[in-house]
């Protein structure tokens, strides 16, 4: 399995939701990894090299913005597609998200259909 998706959120039900939303990709050979904080996420991104990361912004230890900044700017890992997820209406975050190099910015509650189609597009799955 060379296609990995990392789901990072400190809330278990959100991790489960995203996993469930993307469930059908398992049959395409996609492996799911999860992390409940920014530090673990950073470790997993470096060790497992997922193609796609769903990254929550508001998390303890290291927030999603910092993880993204570290990955995209400091470590210059550019073959990972990072989707930042945060609560609706935090417009300031959107700008900050662009600054730290996030590829896409999505708001929660997310639309499951949009989430799935985005994942398929990033992983080149039909």
């Amino acid at each position: 399995m060379d296609k990995k998706i990392l789901i990072v959120d400190d809330e278990a039900h959100i991790r489960m939701l995203i996993g469930q939303t993307l469930e059908e990709l398992e049959d395409e050979g996609v492996e799911f990894l999860t992390a409940d904080n920014g530090a673990s996420a950073l470790d997993l991104i470096q060790s497992e090299r997922p193609k796609l990361v769903f990254l929550d912004v508001m998390m303890p230890k290291m927030n999603g913005m910092d993880v993204c900044q570290k990955v995209k700017k400091d470590l210059a890992i550019d073959d990972v597609y990072i989707i930042l997820l945060t609560a609706k209406g935090q417009e300031l975050d959107r700008q900050r998200g662009q600054e730290v190099g996030a590829d896409v910015y999505m708001t929660k509650p997310f639309d499951p259909e949009v989430l799935l189609s985005k994942a398929k597009q990033v992983l080149n799955l039909s």
Partner: protein
């Protein structure tokens, strides 16, 4: 939810690593096959002595083959598969709920942006059709104002017949207004009546209501049997209820806006009408903006110029006309003079048949300029009348400047805008003197004193008004005559002043002599003719003792 796949369970790197570690610990060799015999883990040996099923929910997902202790691995993987299935099922439920929340969230956002009832109905139907797999749908709403069932939204395939719905409202009424929400199994009547198309196999409706008042319903139809589930109904009911409050608020909002607009228009109409009866200027003079602010006893005193005008010999003139012609004549006369008054900052306080009383609150010059223009307007009117074979009319204008009280009199049930002032009486009296002096435009000295050289006047005499001790100087303004006449009056003005001096000193012979000189140059000067007659009369009969105006 996708089917539980053994490949996905044992394919996970953490699980496969654990299984390998256990086998190593047990010192056994096994491999795992899927139900179709495809190897998912390990390598098959030639001798396959034992095979243990991996099962879940009575179904065999695959096999653990090889060593006889492989049964332990089969049991472990069965257990993990059960856990995985449980997790998937839970995940599916959570996702389902989340999707519902997402639907409601998006829907609420759309509702918040919509304030028009029909638009809300359309947004609701779109959302329902998007969230519930249905072929077609409609929203029916009861309109309290029209007493009709309306269809503000219709979407998807043509599964509903709009015309038939309109014709069979009572039938739909039963469904839409039962207050129930349900998946209907027997809709043969609707099909017979042609309300729904032949192909419809499933029908579901959700009542739209606020408290216990039914407003309408969302009705969804599908071409497949059992197309709608309880979850679909629940979601549709949620949308219906949410949209009901939104539509209720929108209708209330629309009604309020409409009522406010109607009220405003009514008030505006009342103002439009009332200002024709009581001029705006009158109201404003009282320090109020609108007539509704005015109350009994409101009053203001100020120095104004009061102007009176009327048609001379109107009685004689009116005798030749029918009442209708009479009315028409007076109206058209007033219609010519009214705008002149208004354009000179004056307002008409009263129409009194053939006469007009106007007030110029700002300055006497406004009044005099208006009067001059009015005199010319009468001249123009006469040109038209003569062309039409009618006799010319004569109008007299008189004015006086002085204090005036404008106020609201009457009682609480019947009020009137009134002017109380001696100034009004004086102005009226001066106007009536125009007949006496045969002059079209007379003013008092109190008005005259406000002008310095910009107009031309002739001092006519002094009169004592009824009940007054003070004599009033009567002055004629000649600027309103048409050009030829004006030039003649101006050229004879020095003579006129000289003659008047003799006249006031009762040297009537001298006065008459000069007046006659004037008449030789200007035979149309009716005022001078009148003065000659008067002077002649005084010369023959003597001046009566109480006759005012003589020094």
């Amino acid at each position: 939810m996708s089917k539980l796949s053994l490949k996905n369970v044992v394919g996970r790197s953490d699980i496969s690593a654990d299984i390998r570690a256990i086998c190593k610990e047990l010192d056994i060799e096994i491999w795992i096959e899927g139900e179709n015999g495809k190897v998912l883990m390990g390598s098959p040996t030639e001798q396959s002595s034992s095979a243990f099923p991996i099962s879940f929910g009575g179904e065999t997902l695959g096999w653990v083959k090889g060593h006889e202790k492989g049964i332990l691995i089969a049991n472990l993987v069965s257990h993990l598969a059960a856990k995985e299935a449980e997790k998937k099922s839970l995940g599916a439920e959570v996702l389902n709920l989340y999707q519902e929340i997402n639907v409601i969230f998006n829907f609420s956002e759309k509702l918040a942006e919509t304030i028009e009832p029909d638009a809300i109905a359309r947004v609701t139907l779109d959302q329902a059709m998007h969230s519930v797999p249905s072929g077609g749908g409609i929203v029916v709403l009861w309109n309290d104002d029209t007493g009709q069932l309306e269809i503000p939204a219709l979407s998807g395939e043509r599964l509903f017949n709009r015309e038939k719905i309109r014709k069979n409202t009572s039938l739909l009424f039963k469904i839409a207004f039962s207050g129930q929400s349900e998946i209907i199994n027997d809709f043969s009547v609707l099909r017979e009546k042609g309300i729904i198309e032949e192909g419809v196999q499933s029908l579901m409706y959700a009542a739209m209501k606020v408290k216990h008042r039914i407003m309408g319903a969302i009705i969804l139809a599908g071409r497949n049997a059992d197309q709608f589930s309880a979850a679909h109904l629940k979601l549709t009911v949620t949308l219906a209820l949410q949209s009901s409050s939104a539509i209720e608020s929108a209708m209330l909002y629309e009604r309020n806006i409409r009522e406010v607009r109607e009220r405003e228009e009514a008030i505006l109409r009342i103002h439009e009408v009332t200002k024709k009866f009581v001029p705006n200027e009158f109201i404003r003079s009282l320090g109020k903006d609108v007539i509704t602010d005015v109350k009994l006893g409101d009053q203001v005193e100020k120095i104004v110029t009061v102007l009176f005008t009327d048609i001379r010999d109107f009685t004689t003139l009116s005798e030749k006309m029918t009442p209708e012609e009479n009315f028409h004549f007076v109206s058209s006369f007033n219609a010519r003079l009214g705008p002149i008054i208004k354009s000179h900052n004056g307002f008409i306080n009263q129409y009194l048949g053939d006469s007009i009383m106007a007030i110029f609150p700002e300055n006497p010059e406004d009044a005099l300029r208006a009067a001059i223009q009015m005199q010319r307007a009468v001249y123009d009117l006469n040109v038209e009348r003569i062309t039409n074979g009618l006799s010319p009319i004569k109008a007299g204008i008189g004015m006086h400047t002085g204090p005036l009280i404008m106020g609201i009199t009457g009682d609480e049930s019947r009020m009137d805008a009134a002017t109380i002032s001696d100034t009004v009486n004086t102005a009226s009296r001066i106007e009536s003197l125009t007949k006496y002096y045969k002059s079209p435009l007379l003013i008092s000295q109190d008005t005259r004193q406000h002008f310095n050289g910009q107009f031309h006047f002739r001092q006519l005499g002094r009169v004592r008004l009824k009940g007054k001790h003070k004599l009033l100087n009567i002055i004629e303004c000649i600027d309103g005559f048409e050009q030829e006449q004006l030039e003649k009056r101006l050229s004879t003005l020095p003579n006129f002043n000289e003659a008047m001096s003799f006249y006031h000193e009762q040297q009537f012979e001298n006065a008459i002599e000069i007046f006659k000189l004037i008449l030789a140059k200007d035979p149309d000067d009716q005022t001078v003719k009148f003065l000659v007659e008067t002077a002649t009369h005084y010369l023959e009969q003597g001046v009566p003792e109480k006759e005012p105006g003589f020094s």
